[in-house]
Symmetry: C2
Subunit: 302 residues, 2 copies
């Protein structure tokens, strides 16, 4: 199946306790599509400015990502600058320059309109709905969001959620959206808003997935070196949706496996700055980490 | 096998967002021995004052716990008072009255000296070693500790750890003991101090177990109502050690199952104040929660 993603392609400047990088390749759609490209065909919808180097476009293209929906317009590319303390679980945003992203209002190429799997990365909920409305008959729609939209455009977000099957957000955002502390209560409430499945990302503590009938808990992979958590959430979503798109249909078993493939890609991504660790993976690299998650969680399952 | 525990028997006064209780039955050895009593024979070593009601003694006795090592001395019983915010993951201690615990220096009854499984709950590390030295040939020794001893009696604690097989502590304590942030590095360091196995309790995020050869991650059970986290760590240790004592030997598979039985008892315990939820469990109650952990974590294990 083909998987469409709309989100940002950006330059990130990041400082962690282990080093810093300036204006490296980043953005939610970049991380998502790179991670997903190891599982399925991905079509990317995003905008870049005149300053975006051809080498980055070539990298995405080399991953087999369809870039017909990547438009280059006059102006500067979206930029984000942030830093992490030793805790590494939460980024402190130092600067956001929307630049060309400010006027982003994509028209989907005709070849994208038949996409069956859709991921609406963390962008304005009105824009998420606008893109989704251009997809003829989506089979599975997932989305991300953040506190900025939960606080600033709550009604628009609620409207978007009505058309979403799976919401993938972090624990703080989930609590803020549901206005509840307890995550079981949070999930019950969010499931009434539209998404039948809620995936709550908990950074170094892993992820929880709630459906109407079951709960699944996945740990994060315990790494000795976490270099840069930037993009972990989008890499997770990319592995998760990429695997579901590869399966072509969703059931209780493969959606749990999708959470582990998401965790696999996230855990690989954080081992280097930018998406450098995801540039040249083999299927064997991914499968080894997936098997390591089995070893990590096995106690009595057969 | 028989399991010996040394620790506190106390009165707890606890306030949570859901209510409060005054001078209810508490203490590390109380929670531990009650949880463990569902798996194995437990011998308790602790001290109480003249004010400790006979009904509490009768309850412990009704659980089949050997109380020959529970000494009643002149004075008041140990008291702890604390409260929890909505986050529920960390208690704020408001008051600690050591009372009769201050002079606690137990001589083990002859029948206790053949114990094969030993748990040294969170008490002065010198006292932990003193008790352990009275056990003739312990087969498996586990212990807990806390920041107070890590900071105040580090050398004594390091000495105790040399004789310990399994250290069971929370993540903040583990980081402080190892003076490292990353938990994989923390584990590598602690394993050089004596314990061949480190279990890190992470409250609502579950537990991680490190041995020299493997890592096991267990989630916490997602509960809709957590009434009172007091005693969760000791109930965990009780289920963990109780199950290992029941097995009679330790291998990589049953120690993982022990973590889940520990998590099972902790998740049951937090559903009511004091240890009320553990007073009248059936084997079926415990097995149902254990099976729920399987359902919670299964994705592709056979």
């Amino acid at each position: 199946m083909s998987l469409l993603v709309v989100g940002s392609v950006a330059f990130d400047s990041v400082k962690t306790p282990f080093g810093q990088v300036d204006e490296v390749l980043g953005g939610s759609a970049t991380y998502f599509s790179t991670a997903a490209s190891y599982f399925t065909d991905v079509s990317l919808v995003a905008v870049i400015g005149e300053d975006f180097p051809e080498t980055h476009v070539e990298f995405l293209s080399s991953r087999g990502i369809d870039l017909e929906g990547l438009s280059r317009v006059p102006g500067r590319t979206f930029r984000w600058r942030g830093e992490y303390s030793y805790q590494l679980n939460e980024a402190k945003t130092l600067e956001t320059q929307l630049n060309v992203f400010q006027e982003f209002s994509p028209t989907l190429p005709a070849s994208y309109q038949d996409a069956e799997f859709v991921f609406l990365a963390n962008i304005d909920p009105d824009l998420q709905r606008d893109v989704l409305s251009q997809v003829k008959s989506p089979k599975l729609v997932a989305c991300d969001t953040m506190n900025f939209w939960i606080e600033g455009k709550r009604d628009a977000l609620i409207e978007t959620l009505k058309a979403v099957d799976i919401l993938i957000i972090n624990d703080g955002e989930a609590r803020e959206l549901a206005q509840e502390v307890n995550l079981v209560k949070v999930a019950k409430k969010i499931i009434t808003l539209g998404p039948k499945t809620l995936v709550i990302k908990q950074g170094e503590y892993g992820a929880l997935m709630f459906t109407q009938h079951s709960i699944f808990a996945a740990p994060a992979y315990p790494l000795e070196e976490v270099f840069d958590p930037t993009g972990a959430g989008d890499s997770f979503a990319g592995g998760f949706m990429g695997y579901l798109s590869k399966c072509g249909a969703v059931n209780d078993t493969n959606i749990r496996q999708a959470v582990i493939y998401g965790s696999t890609m996230a855990s690989i991504n954080v081992q280097a700055f930018s998406l450098d660790q995801m540039r040249n993976l083999t299927q064997k690299d991914i499968e080894n980490r997936y098997q390591a998650f089995k070893a990590l969680t096995f106690f009595d399952h057969y």
